[in-house]
Amino acid sequence: METITLPRAALIVSVLLLAAFPLIAATFYVQLGAKILIMAIFALSLDLLVGHTGLVSLGHAAYFGLAAYVLALISPKYEAASFWFTLPVAMTAAAAAALIIGFLVVRTAGVYFIMATLAFAQMLYSLFHDTKLGGGSDGIYITVRPDLTIAGIKPLDLEDPVQFYYLALLSIIAVYALLNQVLHAPFGRALAGIKANESRMRSIGYPVFAYKLGAFVLAGALAGLAGYLAACQFGFVNPEILAWHQSGAVLMMVILGGIGKLHGAVLGAFTYVLLQEVLSAPTLLGTYAKHWQLALGSLIVLIVLALPHGLAAWIERAGGWHKRKHVSGAAQVSHD
């Protein structure tokens, strides 16, 4: 099968580098690193939908934000909540929302799907912004980070940025491994078939709706994981976490990085967050730094016009990486 993931050697080296990073970097960069890893999880979850199933969701922030809000809402005001309780609850909430919304939107196709996903995310935004459910536009604080204590031992203290970073790293490794497994399993192959030729998949007997919905729910759950971690790190949740800028940003990460390749999503997240940091820092643009989105927007327009297949494909070509064939001989021809 075509490489949808990096060669094993590259993966191991990347993980080692990422693990070594906090040992040499200042606290600010460790926190930035954790933020990038969390965004990468978010991007990976969307890539499952966009890159591997062909479902372009413009409302993925709904599940990201919902999980964040759930954590904020069920956390006690001045104590730490239990990580092992709040995480499953938050992810289940995100998955449940994805199930309900997915049931409604997966029945639409093409552009309708794009617009409907955006609309439902906006509905959740309106809900949290206009009502008192989540503290309205003021948001909610999470004063103490969740506690990882289980059976008396505390493997990581989330108040320490370095240990939080390692939690983020472990999470992304788990998510990447899970998605890699899913994509090579029959379910993932079926998703690839649906992306390639949906009507043919139906005529050979696949209940396409069920598969798409399954992908949608899984993507929602994983986005929830990212949202949970983001809320943990930031300590504050407000409606902007569900805003369509957030949905647009993560979609940008996926497309910029190159859809359909897991490492592309990670690369896209990395690039986007770094771009954001660099462009908004006063050192580069001076007083115009607060208008960094102008530079970002222009860059995006230029990239779309100039690079039709995203950064990952461009780097691959520039670097001359080889495509691997799977040992069993089922070779999938790469398509442009």
Binding site: S203, V208, A330, V333
Partner: protein
């Protein structure tokens, strides 16, 4: 006489005021090849689309192995045993020929949401896929990208994909379209072999092939059945000759 595996009764399709298919009834039995012929616009493709589920019927019934399928989606009909090949080539061009068939065979796997094993580890599915490729003569092209196969080979792949789903009824929509003479004769041999073990409904324009392969012929004109019967009876039928076979066509 065994009961027909496919029983179509009074099937119709209306588009606004136009009846593309009007009150069509026919039977297909296992081991039989039933060909549907007629001029362009006669409604043949609409008929096949209604049988496979790609198009909904306006009225009528379709009984497949005793089950009413006229309101079922294509995927359910496929799982009941209906296989279909398309007039316009409808494969997965980005995958290898083997992967095309493997996906088709995988559709029969009872636990679709299984994440624990790699797809390639399911030996039974791979075997089915390879068998389907062999049956159509593409065994040595298993690893070739489907997009790089020749037109005739792609048509063979179309049929292999349907075979990989282990169908009882095959709906073949112009499998010979755009083929040269050698490719055509391969395809005719293939279909002839399949006709022994499956029920086949064949829509075709190639009269040579039709008269060689079919045990039953149905002629459609303007959405309605003009005549139906054995090849000899149809050939001798005056109305059919005038409406379709007569005049410019001298391939008889």
């Amino acid at each position: 006489m065994t009961e027909a595996i496919l029983q179509v009764r009074r099937l119709s399709k209306n588009f606004g005021g136009l009846a593309a298919v009007d009150d069509v009834s026919l039977d297909v039995e296992v081991g039989q090849l039933h060909a549907v012929i007629g001029p362009n616009g006669a409604g043949k493709t609409t008929l096949i689309n209604m049988l496979s589920g790609d198009l909904s019927a306006s009225a009528g019934s379709i009984l497949f192995r005793g089950t009413e399928v006229a309101r079922l989606e294509p995927e359910r009909r496929s799982r009941l045993g209906v296989g279909r090949s398309y007039q316009k080539i409808n494969i997965f061009p980005g995958f290898s020929a083997l992967e095309n068939c493997r996906l088709a065979a995988q559709s029969r796997e009872p636990r679709p949401f299984n994440w624990l094993r790699s797809a390639m580890s399911y030996e039974a599915i791979l075997t089915n896929a390879r068998q389907a490729l062999s049956a159509v003569g593409l065994a040595n092209q298993a690893d070739t990208g489907a997009a790089t196969l020749s037109h005739g080979e792609q048509r063979q792949l179309e049929i292999a994909m349907s075979l990989a789903t282990d169908p009882k009824l095959l709906l073949l929509d112009e499998p010979l379209a755009g083929m040269g003479t050698e490719e055509s004769s391969h395809m005719i041999e293939l279909v002839s072999g399949l006709a022994q073990t499956h029920a086949i409904l064949l829509v075709e324009h190639d009269m040579d092939a039709v008269f060689r392969l079919a045990q039953v012929l149905t002629v459609m004109v303007n959405g309605k059945i003009l005549a139906s019967g054995s090849p000899e009876a149809i050939r001798a039928n005056r109305e059919v000759q005038i409406a379709y076979l007569g005049g410019a066509d001298d391939s008889l």
